[in-house]
Amino acid sequence: MQRYLIKRIFQMLIVVFLALTAVFFMQFLAGDPVILLLPMDATYEEIAEMRQRLGFEDSIFVQYFRFVSRALRGDFGQSLRHPQTAVQLVFSRIPATLELALIAVVVSLLVAIPIGVLSAAFRGSWFDQIAIVITVFGQAVPGFWLGIMLILFFAVTLEWLPTGGRGELNNLILPIITLTAFYAARFARMTRSTVLDVLNTDYIRTARAKGLTERRILYKHALRNASISIITLLGLQLGQLLGGAVVTETVFYWPGLGRLLVQSLLNRDFPVVFTGVFFIAVVHASLNLVVDLVYLLVDPRISYD
């Protein structure tokens, strides 16, 4: 187990390193950040001087070496646009992203698992049919459109909820509905199909033959066995959400990581982009590891020794 963990952590480091290297070299495709830092009437001399000061005149490999040696010390540099370091900026946005992601995932699971299990249990019933329509809709409708529609209905027409922002409980409702519509639909469909698979297995038939109640069969046997797939999906989706729900954050002006990163990318604020990618890569790799460890708890057949 210990060897497994060490191996996985080593793999994680490689993934993070490769992600950062890829993003570093991709920055050169994005264009010159200095042009966006100076007023439009800046002369070529001023642009060249600023490039020199910021180190963009050095060769790509010199820049890369400098970047790696700093990154190893946890120094991603000063933001090109804001008065803070890139690390400070990214970390200042993590609480908002965490808040939105965790609540969205919990609400999605609370909505999706009962729907998925019941759909599977009553396959072909009217409940199942409605659930399928709703989940297909939830996955198909763009978050951007849904967000705007929710704002127009609940904020503009009914004036019940604010259009966006963060700070109070009611700021959360519309973004959470927007995210839940998508994620709950995905979880529900996954739950339904895996529970359906499990319900057709021999051991469920045996459980029925033993005379267990349908409820017990569903929640004790079927759902538990289906949980591996759900946990895998949960790990992936949570990773995605922790990287920032870009569209939802933008529509509801939620001050999260996704919005910061997209803005930084458009502004070519590369230190902030690197820090954000570093954070997202670490989160993804860690979640993968956690998911693999959770399998141990859920399925006694799995072992990493």
């Binding site: 439009m40 070529y44 804001h82 004036e159 604010p162 966006g164 963060r166 933008t250 002006y253 001050p255």
Partner: protein, 501 residues
């Protein structure tokens, strides 16, 4: 199930109570498309940064809001001692928000700070001709410039004065997040990505502002920004697009207030590249072939004023004798033939940004259509703003590109920056015109300046480096109860606002 409905009702009730408690008295919330980058004056350049800064800091000089003529602000007057020396007389008794006095040292410190390359100030290039600021006494400063600088007053309208003691004590990084100025509003708090809050400065030297609190709230998505305005969560937004004007005007609490801006929009006709656009006749032909009034009416919903030449009529240096090019497609075809081409031979690319200027992409497409009417084949390439700017600066555009310029209140700021060969914002340059511009820039006598700039404007008009389009109209979405008239220089100042009773 009953328990579920009980919980649901409770949540709904709490929500409604929370919503209704968000109204606060006597504050103005301004919705902006992006967050400020810093609150340190002169460091960065976009509107989202400038808007809060212009409420916290004061400049030495400002413009009369109606005539846009220079008027003193922190400086009560000035005198040109010779071509290279200006003297400014400062108001006495003005205090910074921390109680420190405003004086000549603050002016000197600010200019020196901007001009120190170590400080990496975005605007350094605009002030670098000032080589020394000499303190004559506490309230008199003398600017010595290395070359004649008639544009100095214009530059000083956006030169916001720093508090030297504070900046020295806390450093730039801290002062960027906790600014101190002499302006009408004192900084209170900045939750990045959420809001910048400022309270009125009771001791403001021009009197206590009417509005107690001004908040800048970044709302990146335009539809959300309009929704927030419609329901009264925010009170002012800039740049309402033409197609949303009716929606905002039909809101119970909102209306659109428009004002012609000094910002101009144009299509550059690139003469750096070999090809038909190196011919003056062809460039003129494009001006005859594009029906600018029709574009203003149907693409901009009337929100533009056609230009005659390269300066807007709001620009005090504009030559009033110039008339817009009339729409005359036959003449356009004739001119192209005179230059030795057939319109159908011309296959050109028009670069446009997307969302930077009012309806920019739609304007580009409509122009391509209009040129298509006389047989010219124009394909439009739409770019993200950074890429668009990259292309222009690296001379990598198509034969035409769309750009805006402003606020522009003097000839030099526009013509020198746009029409010199070494600059790329028009994709145009003529060595003999460069010399004329350089001569005009060195003039300080008002009559000689006017004569020189009028002559250059006439040449630019004839050379037609652009399809001269229009000066933008700024369309502000405003809460109807807010007593505030937008300004032609795009500034949004809480000090000029009050709520109707």
């Amino acid at each position: 199930m009953k328990r579920f409905w009980n919980v649901f009702s409770l949540v709904l009730l709490v929500t409604l109570l929370l919503t209704s408690s968000t109204m606060a008295a006597n504050e103005v919330i301004i919705g902006s498309p992006a967050d400020a980058r810093t609150l340190f004056a002169m460091k960065f350049i976009d509107l989202a940064t400038h808007d809060p800064i212009s409420n916290i800091y004061d400049p030495l000089i400002t413009r009369d809001r109606d005539t846009m003529e220079y008027i003193g602000h922190l400086a009560k007057g000035w005198e040109v001692l010779d071509d290279l020396t200006w003297e400014f007389y400062l108001h006495e008794g003005i205090k910074f928000h921390n109680g420190a006095p405003f004086n000549a040292e603050a002016v000197k410190f600010t200019i020196d700070y901007i001009n120190d390359p170590e400080n990496e100030m975005a605007y350094r290039g605009r002030y670098s001709p000032i080589h020394t600021v000499e303190i004559i006494d506490d309230y008199t400063v003398r600017f010595h410039t290395s070359e004649p600088m008639p544009i100095l007053l214009d530059r000083l309208t956006s030169c916001y004065i720093l508090e030297p003691g504070y900046v020295r004590e806390v450093g730039e990084e801290y002062a960027s997040l906790n600014p101190i100025g002499t302006g009408p509003y004192k900084f209170t708090r900045w939750a990045q990505g959420q809001e910048i809050v400022m309270e009125r400065f009771e001791d403001y030297w021009l009197g206590t502002p009417e509005v107690e609190r001004v908040v800048f709230r970044p709302i990146p998505e335009f539809s959300t920004r309009v929704a927030a305005l419609l329901v009264g969560e925010i009170h002012v937004i800039r740049d309402v697009p033409g197609h949303m004007v009716d929606r905002v005007n039909s809101g119970r609490r909102t209306e659109v207030r428009g004002i012609p801006s000094s910002r101009v929009n144009y299509i550059a006709l690139v003469n750096f590249q070999e090809g038909p656009l190196q011919s003056k006749e062809v460039r003129q032909a494009f001006n005859y072939a594009v029906n600018v009034p029709e574009l203003i009416e149907f693409v901009l919903d009337g929100s533009g004023t056609q230009m005659a030449g390269c300066l807007s009529v709001l620009n005090p240096d504009h030559d009033p004798s110039l008339e817009p090019y009339p729409f005359d497609p036959e003449k356009a075809v004739q001119l192209i033939r005179d230059a030795g081409y057939e319109p159908s031979e011309l296959k050109l690319t028009l670069d446009s940004p997307d969302g930077r200027y009012p309806q920019d992409r739609e304007v580009a497409m409509a122009i391509a259509d209009q040129l298509g009417e006389i047989g010219i084949d124009v394909s439009v390439r739409v770019n993200e703003w950074g890429t668009h700017l990259d292309r222009i600066i690296n001379r990598n555009t198509g034969e035409m590109f769309l750009l805006g310029w402003g606020p522009a209140f003097n000839a030099q700021g526009t013509i020198e920056s746009l029409m010199s060969t070494e600059r790329t914002y028009s994709g145009f340059g003529l060595p003999w015109l460069d010399e004329m511009i350089a001569d005009a820039v060195g003039l300080v006598d008002p009559d000689e300046m006017r004569e020189a700039w009028d002559e250059i404007q006439q040449i630019v008009y004839d050379e037609a480096p652009w399809i001269f389009l229009w000066q933008q109209h700024d369309l502000w979405g405003v809460n109807v109860d807010l007593d505030w008239t937008p300004r032609a220089d795009e500034r949004v100042l809480g000090f000029e606002m009050r709520w109707n009773d």
